[in-house]
Symmetry: C2
Subunit: 179 residues, 2 copies
Amino acid sequence: MLPGNIIKVDGFLNHRVDTVLMNDIAEEFRKFFNINRISAVLTAEASGIPVATICAHNFGVPLIFAKKAKSDNIENGLYKSEVYSYTYKKTVTLILSKEWLGPQDRVLIIDDFMANGNAVKGLIDIVNEAGAALEGIGVVIEKGFQGGGDYLRNNGYNYKALAVIDKAEEGAIVFRKQN
Amino acid sequence: MLPGNIIKVDGFLNHRVDTVLMNDIAEEFRKFFNINRISAVLTAEASGIPVATICAHNFGVPLIFAKKAKSDNIENGLYKSEVYSYTYKKTVTLILSKEWLGPQDRVLIIDDFMANGNAVKGLIDIVNEAGAALEGIGVVIEKGFQGGGDYLRNNGYNYKALAVIDKAEEGAIVFRKQN
C-alpha cells in the first residue's frame, strides 16, 4: 500500500500481469454474467486491457478499449466521456470511434480496479451513446469505501466485483465477505 | 489507409480487437520462437497490450507492459527509454518499474505494429537496462519501407514480423513474400 490510499496491484493485475490468474478471473466472471448474450467486452486503456483481453478471448468475443487521448489514427466520429482520474490527478476524455460500437452490441464492461467508479461511469456513458445494451459490469478489485460500487449496486446495474476492499489503512487490507 | 501513410488496423488489431485472430497470431509466433525459454512477454502500452496479453496467456508466462507516462503509482526505480512516436508526433518516455524485470528474465518482445521501430528499440533498451536476456522480437505487422525491420534484421536480432508491408499507396497495400 502506498501513501494517499493507493493500493499497489502492479505485481499481478497490471504492469506485470499474472496471465494464469487472469484466466482464473475470466472464468470466475463467467459464473456471474450471461456470457452467451454478450457481443463484446469493453474496457478503458491501459491497465484494464490485459484482464479484459483474457475475458474477451475466453468468451469468444472482440475486445474494445476506449482510449484516453486523441491520436491521429482516430479520424471518425467519436463517442466521448470526460472522467476525472484520481490516479493521474487530471480529467481525461475517454474516446471510442463510432465504428467499433453500435446499437447491435451487447456489452460486458470489464475493468481491473474501481474506486470512485469514474472510469466505469465513463464507459457506461459510451455504451449509452452507442445505443448498445449493457449486459453487465465486472471489476476485479473494488475499493468499497470510495463509492463507485455502491453507486452501481444502488442504481440497478448488473455489477460484480470479485473482491471488495472495505478498509485499507496502516498496512492492513480488509476484504468484504461476499455471498 | 489514412492520409500521411497511416495504415488503419483499429478494426482487428487494436481498439476493437479480434481475439480469435489474436489467438491464431500467438500460435503463429509460437513457431518462430523458443517459447519454453521465455519467462515473460514485454510490450508497450497501449495498442500492443491485447496481442501481447494473448501471447503471454497462451505461452503461460506473465505479461509486462512499459508505460508511457509517469503516474503516482510508480514510486520505485524505473527503467526508462525515450522514444519518438510518429503516430502521436511527440517524444514519449517508456517506463518500467525495476521490480518487474531483472537479470533472471528471458524476454520475448511483442508489438502490434512497427514502422521505424522506435518503440521496439525503446523496449530493447529496457531489456538491456534490466540485464535480462532478449529471446526474440515478434511484430504482427511491419511497415517494411520505414526501416525498423531492416535495423533489427541487420543487427542480428531474433526478429519475426508475421506480415511485412512493402508498399502502401493510393489505397493499395503490397505485402512482402516471406519464407
